[in-house]
Symmetry: C2
DNA sequence: TCGAATATGTTTACAGTGAAAACATGATCG
DNA sequence: CGATCATGTTTTCACTGTAAACATATTCGA
Protein backbone atom coordinates (compact mmCIF):
# COMPACT_ATOMS: atom_id res chain seq x y z
CA UNK A 1 0.00 0.00 0.00
CA UNK A 2 2.91 2.27 0.68
CA UNK A 3 5.38 1.30 -2.02
CA UNK A 4 4.73 3.35 -5.09
CA UNK A 5 7.72 2.16 -7.09
CA UNK A 6 8.01 5.67 -8.43
CA UNK A 7 11.76 5.50 -8.31
CA UNK A 8 14.75 3.26 -8.53
CA UNK A 9 14.62 2.27 -4.89
CA UNK A 10 18.34 1.70 -4.57
CA UNK A 11 19.33 0.05 -1.34
CA UNK A 12 20.54 2.18 1.53
CA UNK A 13 23.68 3.83 0.29
CA UNK A 14 24.21 6.77 2.59
CA UNK A 15 25.01 10.23 1.40
CA UNK A 16 23.42 10.01 -1.99
CA UNK A 17 21.46 12.92 -3.35
CA UNK A 18 18.31 11.10 -4.32
CA UNK A 19 16.52 9.21 -1.65
CA UNK A 20 15.14 6.32 -3.59
CA UNK A 21 11.59 6.29 -2.38
CA UNK A 22 11.11 9.43 -0.36
CA UNK A 23 7.35 9.41 -0.59
CA UNK A 24 7.09 6.01 1.07
CA UNK A 25 9.70 6.99 3.66
CA UNK A 26 7.76 10.13 4.57
CA UNK A 27 4.54 8.20 5.01
CA UNK A 28 6.26 5.54 7.03
CA UNK A 29 7.94 8.04 9.32
CA UNK A 30 4.71 9.99 9.62
CA UNK A 31 2.89 6.88 10.78
CA UNK A 32 5.67 6.17 13.24
CA UNK A 33 5.45 9.64 14.73
CA UNK A 34 1.67 9.42 14.90
CA UNK A 35 2.05 6.21 16.88
CA UNK A 36 4.17 7.89 19.54
CA UNK A 37 2.74 11.40 19.65
CA UNK A 38 -0.38 13.30 18.83
CA UNK A 39 -1.33 14.88 15.59
CA UNK A 40 -0.92 18.56 16.41
CA UNK A 41 2.72 18.08 17.28
CA UNK A 42 3.38 16.28 14.04
CA UNK A 43 5.31 18.69 11.88
CA UNK A 44 6.36 18.43 8.30
CA UNK A 45 9.85 19.54 9.22
CA UNK A 46 10.17 16.91 11.89
CA UNK A 47 9.22 14.16 9.48
CA UNK A 48 11.69 15.48 6.92
CA UNK A 49 14.41 15.76 9.56
CA UNK A 50 13.94 12.18 10.70
CA UNK A 51 14.01 10.91 7.17
CA UNK A 52 17.20 12.90 6.64
CA UNK A 53 15.98 15.28 4.00
CA UNK A 54 15.44 19.01 3.75
CA UNK A 55 12.03 20.39 4.78
CA UNK A 56 11.07 21.50 1.32
CA UNK A 57 11.88 18.17 -0.26
CA UNK A 58 8.47 17.05 0.96
CA UNK A 59 6.86 19.39 -1.55
CA UNK A 60 8.14 17.28 -4.42
CA UNK A 61 5.79 14.52 -3.31
CA UNK A 62 2.92 16.35 -1.63
CA UNK A 63 1.47 19.73 -2.58
CA UNK A 64 1.23 20.70 1.07
CA UNK A 65 1.21 19.32 4.58
CA UNK A 66 -2.47 18.49 4.39
CA UNK A 67 -1.86 16.20 1.44
CA UNK A 68 0.72 14.27 3.43
CA UNK A 69 -1.70 13.97 6.32
CA UNK A 70 -4.36 12.73 3.96
CA UNK A 71 -2.00 10.05 2.71
CA UNK A 72 -1.37 8.96 6.29
CA UNK A 73 -5.11 8.88 6.94
CA UNK A 74 -5.76 6.70 3.92
CA UNK A 75 -3.11 4.28 5.04
CA UNK A 76 -4.86 4.10 8.40
CA UNK A 77 -8.21 3.55 6.75
CA UNK A 78 -6.85 0.62 4.82
CA UNK A 79 -5.40 -0.92 7.97
CA UNK A 80 -8.68 -0.56 9.82
CA UNK A 81 -10.68 -2.12 7.00
CA UNK A 82 -8.33 -5.10 6.87
CA UNK A 83 -8.65 -5.69 10.59
CA UNK A 84 -12.41 -5.44 10.46
CA UNK A 85 -12.72 -7.98 7.68
CA UNK A 86 -10.42 -10.37 9.47
CA UNK A 87 -12.35 -10.00 12.72
CA UNK A 88 -15.68 -10.52 11.03
CA UNK A 89 -14.72 -13.81 9.46
CA UNK A 90 -12.88 -14.88 12.60
CA UNK A 91 -16.14 -14.43 14.52
CA UNK A 92 -17.96 -16.57 11.99
CA UNK A 93 -19.80 -13.74 10.25
CA UNK A 94 -23.44 -13.04 10.91
CA UNK A 95 -24.59 -10.90 13.75
CA UNK A 96 -21.62 -11.80 15.96
CA UNK A 97 -19.26 -10.94 13.13
CA UNK A 98 -20.96 -7.62 12.61
CA UNK A 99 -20.69 -6.72 16.28
CA UNK A 100 -17.04 -7.60 16.15
CA UNK A 101 -16.37 -5.14 13.33
CA UNK A 102 -17.77 -2.41 15.54
CA UNK A 103 -15.59 -3.38 18.47
CA UNK A 104 -12.54 -3.51 16.22
CA UNK A 105 -13.39 0.03 15.14
CA UNK A 106 -13.27 1.24 18.74
CA UNK A 107 -10.20 -0.79 19.65
CA UNK A 108 -8.37 0.50 16.60
CA UNK A 109 -9.12 4.03 17.71
CA UNK A 110 -7.78 3.33 21.18
CA UNK A 111 -4.64 1.68 19.88
CA UNK A 112 -3.94 4.38 17.29
CA UNK A 113 -5.38 7.55 18.81
CA UNK A 114 -3.55 10.10 16.72
CA UNK A 115 -3.93 8.20 13.48
CA UNK A 116 -7.62 7.61 14.12
CA UNK A 117 -8.20 11.27 14.83
CA UNK A 118 -6.45 12.13 11.61
CA UNK A 119 -8.56 9.63 9.69
CA UNK A 120 -11.77 11.30 10.79
CA UNK A 121 -10.64 14.92 10.73
CA UNK A 122 -12.91 16.76 8.32
CA UNK A 123 -10.22 17.94 5.87
CA UNK A 124 -10.95 15.04 3.55
CA UNK A 125 -12.83 16.48 0.65
CA UNK A 126 -15.49 13.85 0.97
CA UNK A 127 -15.67 10.21 1.81
CA UNK A 128 -17.36 9.28 -1.43
CA UNK A 129 -14.39 10.51 -3.42
CA UNK A 130 -12.10 8.33 -1.35
CA UNK A 131 -10.97 5.53 -3.66
CA UNK A 132 -11.95 2.06 -2.57
CA UNK A 133 -14.62 3.21 -0.19
CA UNK A 134 -17.02 0.48 -1.13
CA UNK A 135 -14.27 -2.02 -0.50
CA UNK A 136 -13.22 -0.37 2.76
CA UNK A 137 -14.79 -0.38 6.16
CA UNK A 138 -17.81 1.62 5.13
CA UNK A 139 -18.72 -0.73 2.34
CA UNK A 140 -18.39 -3.59 4.79
CA UNK A 141 -20.74 -1.83 7.18
CA UNK A 142 -23.31 -1.15 4.49
CA UNK A 143 -23.31 -4.74 3.31
CA UNK A 144 -23.63 -5.98 6.86
CA UNK A 145 -26.63 -3.77 7.47
CA UNK A 146 -28.24 -5.05 4.30
CA UNK A 147 -27.51 -8.66 5.15
CA UNK A 148 -28.75 -8.49 8.73
CA UNK A 149 -31.79 -6.29 8.24
CA UNK A 150 -35.16 -7.94 8.60
CA UNK A 151 -36.47 -8.99 5.19
CA UNK A 152 -38.42 -6.22 3.54
CA UNK A 153 -36.58 -3.45 5.36
CA UNK A 154 -36.74 -0.34 3.23
CA UNK A 155 -33.70 1.22 1.68
CA UNK A 156 -34.25 4.29 3.82
CA UNK A 157 -34.50 2.30 7.06
CA UNK A 158 -31.26 0.57 6.17
CA UNK A 159 -29.65 3.91 5.63
CA UNK A 160 -30.76 5.07 9.08
CA UNK A 161 -29.40 1.86 10.58
CA UNK A 162 -26.15 2.41 8.75
CA UNK A 163 -25.74 5.89 10.21
CA UNK A 164 -26.86 4.78 13.64
CA UNK A 165 -24.36 1.95 13.79
CA UNK A 166 -21.53 4.09 12.58
CA UNK A 167 -22.44 6.95 14.91
CA UNK A 168 -22.57 4.59 17.86
CA UNK A 169 -19.11 3.12 17.48
CA UNK A 170 -17.63 6.39 16.28
CA UNK A 171 -19.03 8.28 19.23
CA UNK A 172 -17.88 5.64 21.66
CA UNK A 173 -14.40 5.73 20.17
CA UNK A 174 -14.25 9.50 20.38
CA UNK A 175 -15.52 9.71 23.94
CA UNK A 176 -13.01 7.12 25.05
CA UNK A 177 -10.20 8.83 23.15
CA UNK A 178 -11.09 12.13 24.75
CA UNK A 179 -11.09 10.55 28.18
CA UNK A 180 -14.72 11.36 28.81
CA UNK A 181 -15.65 7.72 29.18
CA UNK A 182 -13.31 5.07 30.60
CA UNK A 183 -11.54 3.15 27.84
CA UNK A 184 -12.76 -0.11 29.26
CA UNK A 185 -12.82 -3.24 27.13
CA UNK A 186 -15.89 -4.67 28.85
CA UNK A 187 -17.70 -1.39 28.37
CA UNK A 188 -17.01 -1.64 24.65
CA UNK A 189 -18.48 -5.13 24.60
CA UNK A 190 -21.64 -4.04 26.31
CA UNK A 191 -22.17 -0.79 24.46
CA UNK A 192 -21.53 -2.20 21.01
CA UNK A 193 -24.48 -4.52 20.68
CA UNK A 194 -26.37 -5.01 17.46
CA UNK A 195 -29.66 -5.34 19.29
CA UNK A 196 -29.61 -1.62 19.84
CA UNK A 197 -28.84 -0.46 16.36
CA UNK A 198 -31.01 -2.95 14.54
CA UNK A 199 -33.70 -2.62 17.16
CA UNK A 200 -37.43 -2.52 16.39
CA UNK A 201 -38.66 -1.74 12.92
CA UNK B 1 -20.95 33.76 32.76
CA UNK B 2 -18.23 35.82 31.14
CA UNK B 3 -18.07 38.87 33.35
CA UNK B 4 -15.61 38.26 36.14
CA UNK B 5 -15.72 41.72 37.68
CA UNK B 6 -12.05 41.34 38.36
CA UNK B 7 -11.41 44.94 37.56
CA UNK B 8 -12.87 48.39 37.48
CA UNK B 9 -14.57 47.88 34.16
CA UNK B 10 -14.39 51.51 33.14
CA UNK B 11 -16.44 52.35 30.10
CA UNK B 12 -14.74 52.49 26.75
CA UNK B 13 -12.23 55.31 27.04
CA UNK B 14 -9.81 54.73 24.24
CA UNK B 15 -6.06 54.81 24.69
CA UNK B 16 -5.93 53.85 28.32
CA UNK B 17 -3.27 51.47 29.52
CA UNK B 18 -5.46 49.03 31.36
CA UNK B 19 -8.19 47.35 29.47
CA UNK B 20 -10.86 47.05 32.09
CA UNK B 21 -11.85 43.45 31.67
CA UNK B 22 -9.38 41.91 29.30
CA UNK B 23 -10.14 38.36 30.32
CA UNK B 24 -13.77 38.66 29.33
CA UNK B 25 -12.85 40.49 26.14
CA UNK B 26 -10.44 37.72 25.13
CA UNK B 27 -13.05 35.04 25.71
CA UNK B 28 -15.66 37.01 23.84
CA UNK B 29 -13.40 37.60 20.85
CA UNK B 30 -12.28 33.98 20.94
CA UNK B 31 -15.89 32.83 20.71
CA UNK B 32 -16.50 35.24 17.88
CA UNK B 33 -13.54 33.93 15.91
CA UNK B 34 -14.59 30.34 16.59
CA UNK B 35 -17.98 31.18 15.14
CA UNK B 36 -16.50 32.34 11.83
CA UNK B 37 -13.47 30.08 11.45
CA UNK B 38 -12.15 26.77 12.57
CA UNK B 39 -10.14 26.02 15.63
CA UNK B 40 -6.71 25.37 14.14
CA UNK B 41 -6.62 28.80 12.59
CA UNK B 42 -7.52 30.44 15.86
CA UNK B 43 -4.33 32.06 17.12
CA UNK B 44 -3.61 33.71 20.40
CA UNK B 45 -2.02 36.62 18.60
CA UNK B 46 -5.04 37.11 16.41
CA UNK B 47 -7.34 37.30 19.40
CA UNK B 48 -5.03 39.76 21.12
CA UNK B 49 -4.74 41.83 17.97
CA UNK B 50 -8.50 42.07 17.55
CA UNK B 51 -8.95 43.06 21.17
CA UNK B 52 -6.28 45.70 20.68
CA UNK B 53 -3.72 44.40 23.07
CA UNK B 54 -0.22 42.99 22.81
CA UNK B 55 0.16 39.22 22.32
CA UNK B 56 1.78 38.63 25.68
CA UNK B 57 -0.91 40.48 27.58
CA UNK B 58 -2.92 37.29 27.30
CA UNK B 59 -0.51 35.60 29.68
CA UNK B 60 -1.66 37.82 32.54
CA UNK B 61 -5.01 36.06 32.41
CA UNK B 62 -4.21 32.59 31.10
CA UNK B 63 -1.08 30.53 31.74
CA UNK B 64 -0.96 29.49 28.09
CA UNK B 65 -3.05 29.21 24.95
CA UNK B 66 -4.55 25.93 26.05
CA UNK B 67 -6.00 27.56 29.14
CA UNK B 68 -7.73 30.15 27.02
CA UNK B 69 -9.12 27.45 24.79
CA UNK B 70 -10.37 25.60 27.85
CA UNK B 71 -12.16 28.72 28.99
CA UNK B 72 -13.83 28.98 25.59
CA UNK B 73 -14.83 25.34 25.77
CA UNK B 74 -16.42 25.75 29.19
CA UNK B 75 -18.40 28.70 27.96
CA UNK B 76 -19.65 26.53 25.11
CA UNK B 77 -20.54 23.73 27.50
CA UNK B 78 -22.64 26.08 29.57
CA UNK B 79 -24.47 27.31 26.48
CA UNK B 80 -25.20 23.78 25.33
CA UNK B 81 -26.53 22.72 28.74
CA UNK B 82 -28.83 25.73 28.86
CA UNK B 83 -30.25 24.94 25.45
CA UNK B 84 -30.77 21.31 26.34
CA UNK B 85 -32.68 22.10 29.50
CA UNK B 86 -34.87 24.58 27.69
CA UNK B 87 -35.59 22.11 24.90
CA UNK B 88 -36.42 19.35 27.33
CA UNK B 89 -39.04 21.33 29.20
CA UNK B 90 -40.33 22.83 25.95
CA UNK B 91 -40.97 19.29 24.72
CA UNK B 92 -42.88 18.51 27.91
CA UNK B 93 -40.19 16.33 29.47
CA UNK B 94 -40.41 12.55 29.51
CA UNK B 95 -39.22 10.47 26.61
CA UNK B 96 -39.93 13.16 24.05
CA UNK B 97 -38.01 15.67 26.13
CA UNK B 98 -35.08 13.31 26.42
CA UNK B 99 -34.96 12.74 22.68
CA UNK B 100 -35.00 16.46 22.19
CA UNK B 101 -31.90 16.97 24.35
CA UNK B 102 -30.07 14.58 22.05
CA UNK B 103 -31.18 16.43 18.97
CA UNK B 104 -30.17 19.74 20.49
CA UNK B 105 -26.75 18.24 21.10
CA UNK B 106 -26.34 17.46 17.42
CA UNK B 107 -27.81 20.75 16.25
CA UNK B 108 -25.57 22.69 18.57
CA UNK B 109 -22.57 20.91 17.06
CA UNK B 110 -23.71 21.77 13.54
CA UNK B 111 -24.35 25.39 14.43
CA UNK B 112 -21.08 25.83 16.32
CA UNK B 113 -18.68 23.44 14.62
CA UNK B 114 -15.41 24.88 15.83
CA UNK B 115 -16.62 25.54 19.35
CA UNK B 116 -18.11 22.07 19.61
CA UNK B 117 -14.87 20.50 18.42
CA UNK B 118 -13.00 22.49 21.02
CA UNK B 119 -15.41 21.40 23.73
CA UNK B 120 -14.73 17.75 23.06
CA UNK B 121 -11.03 17.95 22.31
CA UNK B 122 -9.24 15.76 24.81
CA UNK B 123 -7.05 18.42 26.41
CA UNK B 124 -9.47 18.83 29.29
CA UNK B 125 -7.90 17.10 32.23
CA UNK B 126 -11.06 15.15 32.87
CA UNK B 127 -14.76 15.77 32.73
CA UNK B 128 -15.32 14.89 36.36
CA UNK B 129 -13.08 17.72 37.46
CA UNK B 130 -15.11 20.11 35.36
CA UNK B 131 -17.00 22.28 37.81
CA UNK B 132 -20.76 22.05 37.55
CA UNK B 133 -20.71 18.83 35.63
CA UNK B 134 -23.65 17.36 37.50
CA UNK B 135 -25.59 20.50 36.73
CA UNK B 136 -24.48 20.57 33.10
CA UNK B 137 -25.53 18.52 30.13
CA UNK B 138 -24.04 15.29 31.42
CA UNK B 139 -25.89 15.46 34.71
CA UNK B 140 -29.05 16.09 32.75
CA UNK B 141 -28.38 13.01 30.65
CA UNK B 142 -27.68 10.84 33.66
CA UNK B 143 -30.88 11.89 35.40
CA UNK B 144 -32.88 11.31 32.25
CA UNK B 145 -31.51 7.81 31.92
CA UNK B 146 -32.40 7.10 35.53
CA UNK B 147 -35.88 8.54 35.17
CA UNK B 148 -36.73 6.72 31.95
CA UNK B 149 -35.16 3.35 32.69
CA UNK B 150 -37.53 0.48 33.31
CA UNK B 151 -38.10 0.03 37.05
CA UNK B 152 -35.49 -2.22 38.59
CA UNK B 153 -32.86 -1.44 35.98
CA UNK B 154 -29.46 -2.00 37.56
CA UNK B 155 -27.00 0.80 38.15
CA UNK B 156 -24.66 -0.84 35.70
CA UNK B 157 -27.27 -1.13 32.97
CA UNK B 158 -28.07 2.54 33.43
CA UNK B 159 -24.43 3.34 33.04
CA UNK B 160 -24.27 1.43 29.76
CA UNK B 161 -27.37 3.27 28.59
CA UNK B 162 -25.76 6.54 29.55
CA UNK B 163 -22.68 5.84 27.48
CA UNK B 164 -24.70 4.46 24.60
CA UNK B 165 -26.91 7.53 24.41
CA UNK B 166 -24.02 9.89 24.61
CA UNK B 167 -21.97 7.95 22.08
CA UNK B 168 -24.90 7.91 19.67
CA UNK B 169 -25.48 11.63 19.54
CA UNK B 170 -21.80 12.45 19.82
CA UNK B 171 -20.90 10.15 16.98
CA UNK B 172 -23.70 11.50 14.83
CA UNK B 173 -22.58 15.04 15.52
CA UNK B 174 -18.99 14.24 14.66
CA UNK B 175 -19.80 12.37 11.47
CA UNK B 176 -21.98 15.22 10.30
CA UNK B 177 -19.38 17.80 11.24
CA UNK B 178 -16.74 15.87 9.34
CA UNK B 179 -18.97 15.69 6.30
CA UNK B 180 -19.08 11.92 6.33
CA UNK B 181 -22.83 11.87 6.76
CA UNK B 182 -25.18 14.52 5.35
CA UNK B 183 -26.08 17.12 7.96
CA UNK B 184 -29.74 16.52 7.41
CA UNK B 185 -32.30 17.58 9.99
CA UNK B 186 -34.65 14.72 9.22
CA UNK B 187 -31.80 12.26 9.52
CA UNK B 188 -31.11 13.61 13.00
CA UNK B 189 -34.72 13.08 13.95
CA UNK B 190 -34.71 9.48 12.79
CA UNK B 191 -31.32 8.49 14.12
CA UNK B 192 -31.80 10.03 17.56
CA UNK B 193 -34.58 7.86 18.88
CA UNK B 194 -34.77 6.71 22.46
CA UNK B 195 -36.16 3.36 21.45
CA UNK B 196 -32.72 2.36 20.29
CA UNK B 197 -30.70 3.39 23.28
CA UNK B 198 -33.13 2.28 25.93
CA UNK B 199 -33.98 -0.79 23.92
CA UNK B 200 -34.52 -4.24 25.41
CA UNK B 201 -33.32 -5.10 28.88
C1' DT C 1 -2.09 61.37 51.97
C1' DC C 2 1.86 59.35 50.14
C1' DG C 3 4.88 55.75 48.90
C1' DA C 4 5.47 50.84 48.23
C1' DA C 5 3.64 46.62 46.58
C1' DT C 6 0.99 44.49 43.18
C1' DA C 7 -1.76 43.79 39.05
C1' DT C 8 -1.74 44.43 34.43
C1' DG C 9 0.03 46.05 30.44
C1' DT C 10 4.29 46.49 26.55
C1' DT C 11 8.66 45.59 24.08
C1' DT C 12 11.90 42.59 22.65
C1' DA C 13 13.61 38.17 21.57
C1' DC C 14 13.72 33.30 20.28
C1' DA C 15 12.85 28.85 18.44
C1' DG C 16 9.68 26.57 15.76
C1' DT C 17 6.31 26.20 11.84
C1' DG C 18 4.43 25.80 6.66
C1' DA C 19 5.54 27.39 2.43
C1' DA C 20 7.44 30.05 -1.92
C1' DA C 21 11.48 30.96 -5.01
C1' DA C 22 15.69 30.14 -6.92
C1' DC C 23 19.21 26.95 -7.50
C1' DA C 24 21.79 22.15 -7.69
C1' DT C 25 22.16 17.45 -8.78
C1' DG C 26 21.62 13.35 -10.92
C1' DA C 27 18.77 9.93 -13.71
C1' DT C 28 16.81 9.00 -18.22
C1' DC C 29 16.56 8.84 -22.87
C1' DG C 30 17.05 10.87 -27.64
C1' DC D 1 27.17 12.20 -25.17
C1' DG D 2 24.24 15.82 -24.04
C1' DA D 3 19.62 17.81 -23.12
C1' DT D 4 15.62 17.32 -20.25
C1' DC D 5 13.30 16.60 -16.27
C1' DA D 6 12.48 14.65 -11.71
C1' DT D 7 14.09 15.29 -7.37
C1' DG D 8 16.78 17.26 -4.10
C1' DT D 9 18.86 21.88 -1.34
C1' DT D 10 19.36 26.72 0.24
C1' DT D 11 17.44 30.81 1.31
C1' DT D 12 13.80 33.50 2.72
C1' DC D 13 9.34 35.01 4.56
C1' DA D 14 5.40 35.58 7.51
C1' DC D 15 3.46 33.54 11.22
C1' DT D 16 3.05 31.12 15.68
C1' DG D 17 3.44 30.41 21.10
C1' DT D 18 5.90 32.04 24.83
C1' DA D 19 9.86 33.63 27.99
C1' DA D 20 12.22 37.81 30.01
C1' DA D 21 12.69 42.35 31.07
C1' DC D 22 10.51 46.56 31.47
C1' DA D 23 6.47 50.13 32.05
C1' DT D 24 2.34 51.82 34.00
C1' DA D 25 -1.66 51.97 36.78
C1' DT D 26 -4.22 50.59 41.01
C1' DT D 27 -4.51 49.48 45.63
C1' DC D 28 -3.43 49.50 50.28
C1' DG D 29 -0.90 50.15 54.55
C1' DA D 30 1.93 53.68 57.17
Amino acid sequence: MIENDNSVNIENEKGRYHHGDLRAALISEGLRLLAIGDVEQLSLRQIARNVGVSPTAVYRHFPDKQALLTALAMEGGAQLARRQKKAQTAAGGGRAGFDETGRVYVRFALENPALFRLMTAKSRVGTETCPGEERGGLGLLRRNIAALAAPGTSEEAQRVGFVRSWAMVHGLAMLMLDGQVPADESLIDRVVDTAFVAGPA
